[in-house]
């Protein structure tokens, strides 16, 4: 047996001991407190104690989730419903909080977990150090401990009454130690699997959460596109349309003036031409805002390059794409990059920007880094919120790393395939 394995087994034994203590002390105490607190709700006291107790229960469960991730790589979902933003203060708020907590299925899963944790969870956890300790004890019996303990001591199924039976006990002890060496990490993992089975939301709950998320992102998408259409309508109405009206009017006047006052007619002609040029410029800007021509002609990579060329800050663009992506994804990604770049130019004070676009493992990944002053946040009205929401429609995510003093790195990831 190599040293790392022995070390791993000893660490697992220590972790098992810690988990068993948590399960036996923490879970039993909290379960008793919860039951008492909930039982006291009818007489009123429980309404005030329950949120506190359940708060501790959640913290206890959260700690186990963290340990599961850190010690065994087991990811246990955190399915708690967030409190609505408008929960009231004071007594009314307390009642509201209490009822919200009791309505959350995650609360009842937590309580169920406390039960499994103090039984099955504790047993799997205690086995890890237990196997080693019991093994060492067997060896110690043969080393002479049996004489101290006296006659009739049972080591597992062996009645220890002489050097012969003590030797057998030590052999069995060695078996326990060997088993422990191999099995300990698995026992710790088994403990977390037990926790996962009780804590993680059932499939229906997961589906429910997914439906909630889809409903929300669909609403956002519908709202966004309605607002977008409204903006386009207004731009056309006040811009190109108005200019064409003015042009038609000018042409009518020119028709009337062309013989009477050619000089004036000429001036109006110039004005009409200017109006048509302006209308074209406005239409071009509008088109760029709806679907940039480079994106249609060349795809995301070159569109981002063209975008970077328009920035007042020098930039490096690195694109690794082997083909076109779906049009909706390209468009969403383009406008996301555009918004992030605009933000960087406006707020970061950066001297250089790096953009990296590549596709790997079925995801489009985009990173925008600047060497500005940092401190960027995804908060209301920051522009990044809108990006996050729009990417959400594609199950995309946005992450911002922006420590004070910089650098700022915004990463976006959208699951998608080449078209």
């Amino acid at each position: 047996m190599d040293r790392t394995k022995a070390r791993g087994s000893l660490i697992a034994a220590a972790r098992g001991l810690a988990l068993a203590l948590l399960a036996l002390v923490g879970s039993i105490t909290l379960f008793v407190l919860s039951v008492v607190s909930i039982a006291l709700i009818p007489i009123g006291v429980g309404v005030f104690t329950t949120p506190f107790v359940l708060g501790f229960v959640r913290a206890h469960a959260q700690q186990r989730r963290q340990l599961a991730r850190a010690w065994a790589g087991v990811e246990i979902a955190t399915p708690y419903r967030p409190f609505p933003a408008d929960v009231r203060r004071g007594v009314v708020g307390q009642v509201e909080r209490c009822s919200l907590l009791l309505k959350d299925p995650a609360t009842w899963r937590d309580l169920r977990w406390l039960l499994t944790d103090m039984t099955a969870g504790a047993v799997t956890a205690i086995l890890a150090p237990g196997l080693l300790l019991e093994g060492v004890f067997g060896v110690l019996l043969f080393a002479g401990l049996w004489t101290v303990l006296g006659d009739g001591w049972w080591y597992a199924f062996i009645p220890v009454g002489g050097w012969g039976s003590a030797f057998l006990a030590s052999l069995l002890g060695c078996v326990w130690i060997t088993v422990g060496m191999f099995a300990n990490p698995y026992l710790v993992r088994a403990h977390f699997k037990v926790a996962e089975a009780s804590l993680a939301p059932a499939r229906e709950a997961a589906l429910g959460a997914r439906i909630d998320q889809l409903t929300e992102s669909r609403h956002a998408a519908v709202d966004d596109s309605a607002a977008e259409l409204r903006r386009i309508e207004r731009d056309l109405h006040d811009g190109a349309q108005a200019r064409l009206v003015a042009m038609g009017m000018d042409l009518g006047t020119i028709e009337a003036l062309v013989e009477k006052d050619p000089a004036k007619a000429k001036e109006l002609l110039r004005q009409a031409r200017q109006n048509s040029a302006d209308a074209l410029t406005e239409l071009r800007d509008l088109v760029r805002g709806i679907h940039p021509p480079v994106l249609a002609e060349r795809g995301l990579g070159d569109a981002v390059k063209a975008l970077a060329l328009r920035l007042p800050i020098p930039s490096d663009v690195d694109v690794t794409l082997h083909g076109r992506l779906g049009e909706p994804v390209e468009s969403a990604a383009y406008f996301a990059v555009s918004e992030v770049l605009t933000n960087a130019v406006k707020h970061s004070g950066a001297e250089r920007i790096w953009v990296d676009v590549h596709h790997a493992d079925g995801h489009l990944r985009i990173a925008v880094t600047d060497n500005g002053k940092g401190g960027a946040r995804i908060s209301a009205g920051s522009g990044l919120t809108g990006v996050e929401r729009r990417l959400g429609t594609f199950d995309g995510v946005l992450a911002v790393s922006s420590p004070a003093g910089g650098p700022t790195m915004v990463t976006m990831e959208i699951p998608c395939a080449y078209s």
Binding site: A277, V287, P293, V294, E297, L309, R310, P312, P314, S315
Partner: protein, 216 residues
């Protein structure tokens, strides 16, 4: 002068043919799609080709790609690209071979027939015609980055027109000064930017654009 024209919108194609013929050009073919344009490039020998960037059937940058391919086959073949939008990215690709005889203009520029025809003639003669918008983007970007080595406002104005591909005579008439004054400005500009002086008009323009575009 023999012109090959590729434009998919009937109204614009028709208008361009009439305008070109009014200025004594001979339109040897007016095509409306990428494959037709490729065929025309293979079969005909135009003095200048005028192509829309976006052509059917793909409605991507088919026109631009055809033109670039034709220029690879016949280096220096004069090509004027028209588009509803201008991108430095495309301008760079067009200028990359350094051969001259390249134009890149917004479709709006056909409003001013005189100037448009002047641009066509310039390109056909191996010169350059860059849209003012491309040059302005280059300049504004360049100035935000690093100011242009102490050029006076007048010299900046001359630089901008020169980068568009205008000749000294054309710049002089636009700014209403003598050609000699412009020659003095341009030699000042070249000295201040540290660019090699060249008698060849087109080399000069390409050097200026390359200077503005560097350091990205």
């Amino acid at each position: 002068m023999r012109v090959l024209l590729a434009e998919d919108l009937f109204l614009l194609r028709d208008g361009l043919v009439r305008m070109l013929e009014a200025y004594d050009f001979e339109v040897i073919a007016a095509v409306e799609s990428g494959p037709e344009l490729t065929k025309a490039f293979a079969e005909l020998t135009p003095d200048v080709a005028i192509c829309d960037v976006r052509l059917p059937p793909s409605h991507t940058d088919e026109g631009l790609q055809c033109a670039l391919a034709a220029r690879r086959a016949r280096p220096g073949l004069p090509v004027l690209i028209l588009s509803q939008h201008v991108e430095q990215l495309y301008a760079r690709e067009l200028l990359a071979d350094g051969n001259g005889g390249v134009g890149y203009l917004l479709k709006d520029r056909v409003f001013d027939a005189e100037q448009f025809i002047d641009a066509v003639r310039r390109v056909a003669a191996g010169g350059t015609a860059m849209d003012p918008q491309v040059i302005q983007q280059l300049l504004s970007r360049r100035q935000a980055d690093r100011p242009l080595g102490g050029l006076t406002p007048r010299e900046l104005e001359v630089l901008e027109l020169m980068a568009q591909g205008r000749s000294n005579a054309a710049i002089a008439s636009q700014l209403v000064v003598t050609e000699r004054a412009i020659a003095k400005h341009t030699s000042n500009i070249f000295a201040k930017l540290g660019l090699p002086v060249s008698d060849d008009d087109n080399r000069r323009v390409l050097a200026v654009i390359a200077y503005l575009d560097q350091g990205r």
